[in-house]
């Protein structure tokens, strides 16, 4: 069996940057990228808005310092200040590098990269390519990886991190096209598998596969997760699918109405109205719905985002994407009807605990991108900072792994490990199994949205946690009906569900324990931030199917704790 120097798990922005940088650092290394979908289809492509870097092209007086401060303040002071500093200092260089290798950024008249304002930033520092920023960045990285001859294993699904009492051996994956279980012996492994916000299922803006697989695999192998309770909600998701209606709709003057025809934001933000900050608007919509002033439907409760008063011309010229989206996915033309919307789970701040070069506690194992928690976003990430994170820390992890891979001499993955996986998978076909994954998945999403959602209380969270435990029990009876080997998506969806269940238990547990409100985490029974008791990271370790919880200090720097006000 050949041994790889680096196996990158995940072909999104973080994974591809890591692979590209590792090839650049040492072209002789034997590097593989495994990805459950073709890398160019990764969820990075969904990012429309842009990526932050203090290039000072649009605002000449912008500085890296200002970016650092915005990031720390935005995080509600839970970000590690050294990590936030790395993020913002590396930013201009990394955006220029992306530009240099061909990413098509939108331009200013002088030919430099254009930048626009974005939420929570003091200056217009968000670099973009029209409304397809993530898509174009992902394509550029994928193309450069092809150019450099990276070995891609497309449609391979990671099952397990193989190690011997904490000594890395590699990973075990399922070849989706053939059903074979394949060992990847490797000196190092970089997790770059993206976020876990899809556990909220129909109440999530994420792709179907943003199921936190890497986090769950690392967690089960004994690597701690951090700050899992922090999940960001976006105020305007489509009712049926949770898909995102971008802020542009409200920016152009859209109104929010409840079922009594009341423009309810007047109660919550009389001045800013619909243009209040994301978390405030989300909480306001949620309050309306909870107090019975939302509309009801087969696909859940919702309120209206009304654009009709803006007129057909403006909608067609300035908001064509949003119009298309609501016609495609709700069957509603906003020129004629209001759009049914509801807040939607959007981004996962928590993830695999890693240092500023992506190192985890297991030697040779790294994490980068949304699946990692470095932590630069703390309790709340700023728009435009997550694309930046995946690039900066993807690159740093790729470099570190390339420099350190030779230090490790992994022992081979054994046949019995493969057999165990084989047996485990076959077990799902057993005839005494009767539960359907689709039902558990929907119940999980609903449970999380109802009990571990935007507003949290002890009672709700206890229910939410118990429901997860109950669903985990039922999962043991889930049946995979497709017994074939080739492209068995029935099996993949069941395996993804298992990962969501394991992680959602940590999300609910973390939310229950954290008795304060900070960033995205709102406890109605503890409405203020409590720095004395809770200015710390939550840590989750896997102990025999149970969770061991501990905490870790936040790395401070020159910015003192302050109240977060906008």
């Amino acid at each position: 069996m050949k041994t790889f120097d680096i196996v990158v798990v995940g072909g999104g922005g973080a994974g591809l940057y890591a692979a590209m940088e590792a090839m650049k650092t040492n072209p002789k290394l034997n590097i593989a990228v495994i990805s459950k979908i073709y890398p160019n289809r990764s969820h990075t492509s969904a990012a429309q808005g842009g990526v932050n870097a203090a290039l000072a092209n649009t605002a000449k007086d912008d500085t890296v310092e200002s970016h650092i401060f915005d990031t720390i303040k935005g995080s509600d002071y839970l970000a590690d200040q050294d990590a936030a500093e790395v993020l913002c200092r590396d930013a201009p260089g990394i955006i220029r590098e992306l530009e240099n290798i061909g990413t098509p950024f939108s331009r200013l008249d002088d030919g430099t990269i254009a930048q626009r304002p974005f939420g929570g930033a003091a200056q217009p520092r968000c670099c973009y390519c029209a409304d397809k920023t993530g898509h174009t960045i992902l394509q550029s990285l994928y193309e450069q990886c092809l150019r450099k001859g990276v070995n891609f294993y497309n449609e391979f699904y990671i099952l397990e991190l193989s190690h011997d009492n904490g000594r890395l051996k590699g990973i075990i994956a399922l070849d989706i096209k053939t059903g074979k279980i394949v060992p990847f012996n490797s000196r190092s492994v970089i997790f770059a598998t993206g976020g876990y916000a899809k556990m909220y299922w129909n109440r999530s803006s994420n792709a179907a596969g943003c199921t936190g697989d890497g986090q769950a695999v690392a967690y089960r192998a004994g690597i701690p997760l951090k700050d899992m309770e922090f999940v960001q909600f976006h105020p305007t998701g489509l009712r049926k699918s949770g898909l995102l209606v971008t802020e542009g709709a409200r920016g152009e003057g859209g109104y929010l109405f409840n079922k009594d025809g009341e423009r309810f934001m007047s109660k919550y933000a009389p001045n800013k109205m619909e243009l209040g900050p994301r978390d405030l608007v989300s909480r306001s919509i949620e309050t309306e719905i909870r107090e019975g002033r939302g509309y009801d439907s087969h696909a859940g409760k919702y309120v209206h985002l009304d654009l009709r008063h803006l007129g057909a011309d403006l909608i067609k010229t300035r908001l064509p994407q949003i119009r298309e989206l609501s016609m495609y996915f709700e069957g509603v033309d906003p020129i004629e009807e209001p759009i049914p919307i509801v807040p939607t789970a959007h981004y996962s701040m928590g993830g695999i605990d890693a240092d500023n070069d992506g190192r985890t506690i297991m030697k040779g194992v790294y994490a980068a991108g949304e699946c990692a928690c470095i932590s630069v976003h703390g309790a709340n990430r700023l728009g435009g900072n997550s694309l930046l994170e995946i690039l900066v820390f993807g690159k740093r992890a790729g470099h570190a792994a390339a420099m350190e891979a030779q230090e490790n001499d992994p022992s081979p993955i054994t046949e019995s490990e493969l057999q165990r996986q084989h047996k485990y998978i076959r077990g799902f076909h057993h005839h005494d199994k009767h539960e359907r994954y689709g039902i558990i998945r929907e119940e999980l999403g609903k449970n999380l949205a109802d009990n571990v959602g935007i507003f949290r209380t002890k009672a709700l969270l206890e229910t939410g946690y118990e429901n997860v435990v109950e669903l985990k029990k039922r999962f043991k009876k889930v049946r995979v009906f497709d017994t074939g080997d080739i492209y068995n998506t029935n099996l993949i969806q069941v395996l993804e569900l298992q990962n969501m269940l394991d992680l959602s238990q940590t999300v609910a547990m973390g939310a229950l324990l954290r008795e304060e409100s900070r960033g995205s985490h709102t406890r109605e029974d503890f409405p203020v931030r409590d720095d004395e008791n809770w200015h710390k990271h939550s840590m989750f370790e896997y102990c025999d199917d149970d969770i061991c919880v501990s905490s870790k200090a936040v790395t401070m720097g020159k910015y003192e704790l302050q109240e977060r006000k906008y």
């Binding site: 098509p104 990269i113 792709a207 179907a208 009906f481 497709d482 029935n490």
Partner: protein
């Protein structure tokens, strides 16, 4: 006011481990207004037949996974409304769903995409920057908004392969470079940061190349991102003809010199 119709879906099925030949299965399900073809397939998979396989990921028209032949035309399942499709049905309320054309089915609606990805490599589907590696990240190239405009629309391509599915040339020459790859070549060649345009033109002008295209315009017509692919083809075709002629002249020259 919930509007619901009962609709049948006639879906292509093939599992090479079990079936000697492909066949079609028909599923009858209730569909509310506003539901996409992909969500209808999800409903069938979740409630009727979990064995049915198809690719899907973002559900938002950006990842390019779910191109299918719906009522005979190639479309993204996730951006196609079931109710809109009813007017394209041959038999009332019966929607047919097949894999994209010009690819081999691995299982049901899932096709083997590797031949197309291999062409991306064969035809230099990346920018070869004029900037040396060690200079990267130090300064920006200056690119005019006008230059950006020349390839803006081409960078919308999500590689869903709808154009490949409907290209009549692909039908009898699987090795044909394909519209998606020509579009990439165009996008790279218009970029002033790139240094490989001549190489690329030579590659696509070779056998199974761009000169075989008869400009039927199908690719632009089916493109789910409405990219005018045929304009890119026209542009590169002229380049290719120019280079080919130059090449021929050079050959002639050579013949003259070496008796």
């Amino acid at each position: 006011m919930k509007e619901v119709k009962v609709i049948s879906f006639k879906v292509f099925r093939y599992n090479p481990q079990a079936d000697a030949h492909p066949y079609h299965d028909t599923f009858e399900i209730p569909v509310e207004k506003g539901i996409t073809i992909l969500r209808a397939l999800d409903y069938i998979k979740q409630n009727i037949d979990p064995r049915m396989s198809y690719r899907s990921f973002c559900h938002a028209g950006i990842c390019g996974s779910c191109a299918m032949t719906i009522n005979g035309a190639t479309k993204l399942a996730c951006t196609t409304q079931v109710w809109d499709e009813l007017k394209n049905c041959v038999e009332e309320n019966l929607i047919t769903i097949d894999p994209i054309k010009n690819f081999t089915s691995l299982k049901d609606l899932v096709v083997d995409m590797d031949p197309l990805v291999e062409k991306l490599e064969k035809y230099t589907g990346w920018v070869e920057s004029t900037m040396p590696d060690k200079e990267l990240g130090k300064t920006e190239f200056r690119i005019s908004p006008e230059e950006f405009k020349t390839y803006d629309s081409a960078t919308d391509c999500i590689f869903c392969a709808s154009c490949v599915s409907d290209c009549p040339l692909m039908n009898y020459d699987k090795d044909y470079v394909s519209p998606a790859i020509i579009l990439r070549a165009y996008r790279m060649n218009m970029d002033s940061r790139d240094s490989a345009s001549e190489k690329r033109v030579l590659q696509i002008a070779d056998e199974h190349g761009i000169l075989d295209c008869r400009q039927c315009n199908r690719c632009s017509f089916v493109c789910v991102k409405k990219i005018p692919i045929v304009d890119a083809i026209n542009h590169l075709k002229q380049e290719a003809v120019k280079q080919k002629n130059q090449g021929l002249n050079m050959l002639e020259e050579k013949k003259k010199i070496s008796p």
